[in-house]
Amino acid sequence: MNETQRILLETANRLLGDLCTRPVGDAAEQGAWPADLWRRLEETGFTNAARSTARGGESGDIGDMYLLVKAAGAHAAPVPLAETLLAEQMLAAAGLQAADGPATIGPVLRADRMTLARRGGRLSLSGVARRVPWARHARTLVLLAEDRGTTVTVRVEQVPVEAQGWNQAREPRDTVRFDGTEISADAIGNGFDFDELYRRGALCRTAAMAGALEKVLALTLRYAGERVQFGRPIGKFQAVQQQIAVLATHVAASNAAANAAIAAHAGGDGAFQIAAAKTRVGQAAGVAAGIAHQVHGAIGFTHEHELHRSTRRLWAWRDEFGSEVEWASWVGQTVAKIGGEVLWPFLTGRSAGAAADVPGAER
């Protein structure tokens, strides 16, 4: 982290800490839009963090962007910050006009496909995208659609939410449906393919989970220091200490994996690192949430205590943009392709993931 990033993180933590209060979180879970929180994020420019100077932003530094996503994860911010930043990445890649206000992206499930039909000069969009994050609150929806065998990026201003749903953290995950909706030609461009969107989505969730894991550890340490049983804070019991130590190892590993994936992505590739990081952090999420709840005891099982804001997000996010099962398979296929003997050079190479860089000649 450089000095600018340190300041950025401090600002983000202060702002999010002030604004992501329990009432705001509760209201969001009941379906309210946290307008004040979003407005403040816009004012500080956080929602524009993915926008380059050429597109009216300030830096568009990829590292900054994921730092913010991680901070939002740590504070369980109930807003589509990651989705809005992803949407801008897609729009920029497709050369489409930037969006104002909260935005989201789709499709997010491998099975869902949107198609663009051309009849005469008219373009029309059809298809169903399920589990679209925050669709009901998004002013802009950036979609990938199939257009005569290629994938195009489509910018949609009216988001047709067919059904509202939720993830385990009660963040909106909605179904959007298009039945031949007319699309204007200047809302279409060539940008991401689905894998690229999916991978970047996975990186967003990885970063957010790393943030949430840090929060879970902090809460657990605080509780273990405060809660007294048998005349001592429970943190003094060896059985509790050993569990929290394990929790800490997973938090540390998640940070390392997320940091490395973000750095690799910022450096221009990172396909392998993102897959490995989503796998590793997904593994950590389950273990960490289990330990945190075990240490918190009954209080952690209440809605009143804030632990669940982070643990439920971990449970939800580990499944979004590919579970650790799915990404682990991808990693396995990748290394199986290169073979065992080249595994080490591959892992230590300039850009793990680019097989061309593997110095297999030195076998």
């Binding site: 019991f237 060896q238 059985a239 050993q242």
Partner: protein, 357 residues
């Protein structure tokens, strides 16, 4: 426990605790067959206990066999006990008695491996079996093969086989045996399926496993109480206590499922209980070996201290007579796709023995 069980388990306990000395165990790993110990096994009627009285046995119930095998497992008895017991049970079912001496057991179920060629009583054995427990050390290898609707058995003298001596991770003989057209005398066995043989040998092995697991617990608790670190016995450290509690739970669960399975192994859903038992035993072995070694520290990592006799056997046994994964798959396959509302009634009928206590 009934009187017979008491008598035979007492005899086994006496025999094994006197004769299964560290020296005998160490020598067995060097390939020395413990003949004195074997005579004791014969003299006490252990090897024949499953056979009918007419064939020198006592037609012991599976529960009694389990109890005796637990004693054997607790002493890491370096003999083909499960194999011989099940072999003689089969020979007895075939209406033929068995000669004394240890038996190896090969249950033919796979396309590769040995083939029994021909029809009638005179048949020919051909092929290679890769890892036969005590293949060379046993006097005879009992081959069990599907035959028409039933099964048949044939005993082949191990002298007539080409032996590739090997051992498993516990240092027990697991020999590759090649039969180059060996003629054998074939006998049909009625009312026993090939699966039932696997079930019975699994149950006997389960006894060995439960006994060995119990011993890892005893050794670990004993060590934790004796070993002083930071001015206190290890046993007083909460981190150690919690791990030993987990070990105890694993041992208890293994014993519970084995006990229950012995009651129903010959019943309608015996196959599923055996599968559940084998799966659970493997889980208990994973926990049991990991925790006992962790508690023992470096001490457990030596050949001088006895723990390894048990943990290495446990590692080997969890995947012999079909791997734990195969047994898990069988159990899962029996239920996969069951309608949600029917699963309970289908599960609930498995493994419940009726009758009074």
């Amino acid at each position: 426990m009934s009187e017979t069980t008491d008598m035979i388990t007492d005899a086994a306990t006496r025999l094994f605790s006197e004769q299964c000395t560290p020296r005998v165990l160490a020598e067995a790993e060097q390939g020395v067959f413990p003949s004195t110990l074997w005579s004791g096994v014969e003299d006490n009627g252990i090897a024949s206990m499953l056979a009918a009285e007419a064939h020198g046995g006592i037609a012991a119930s599976p529960g009694v066999a389990l109890a005796v095998m637990r004693v054997a497992g607790r002493h890491a008895v370096p003999l083909p006990l499960a194999e011989t017991m099940v072999g003689r049970w089969l020979l007895s079912k075939a209406g033929i008695g068995a000669a004394t001496g240890p038996l190896a057991l090969v249950v033919l179920r796979r396309p590769d491996g040995w083939k029994v060629e021909g029809t009638g009583t005179a048949r020919v054995l051909r092929g290679t079996e890769p890892a036969v427990a005590w293949g060379k050390a046993s006097g005879g290898v009992l081959v069990v093969v599907r035959d028409g609707a039933g099964i048949g058995v044939a005993t082949v003298d191990s002298q007539r086989l080409k032996v590739d001596s090997r051992t498993n991770i516990a240092g027990e003989p697991r020999d590759g045996l090649t039969a180059d057209g060996v003629s054998v005398r074939f006998s049909p066995v009625s009312a026993v399926s090939l699966e039932a043989v696997m079930h019975m040998v699994s149950l006997c092995r389960a006894g060995l496993i439960c006994g060995a697991l119990q011993r890892t617990l005893e050794l670990s608790v004993g060590y934790a109480c004796d070993r002083v670190q930071f001015g206190r016995p290890l046993a007083k450290f909460q981190a150690i206590q919690q791990q030993l509690a987990e070990l105890a739970g694993a041992v208890a669960s293994a014993t519970a499922i084995a006990n229950a399975t012995a009651n129903v192994v010959e019943g309608e859903h015996g196959d599923l209980m055996i599968a559940a038992m084998r799966a659970r035993l493997a889980g208990a072995i994973d926990t049991g070996t990991a925790v006992s070694h962790q508690v023992h520290g470096a001490m457990g990592f030596t050949r001088e201290y006895a723990l390894h006799y048990y943990t290495r056997r446990l590692w080997a046994w969890r995947d012999e007579y079909d791997s734990a994964a195969e047994w898990r798959e069988r159990l899962g396959r029996a239920f996969a796709g069951a309608p949600a509302d029917e699963l309970w009634s289908r599960l609930a009928r498995i493994g419940v023995a009726s009758g009074t206590q």
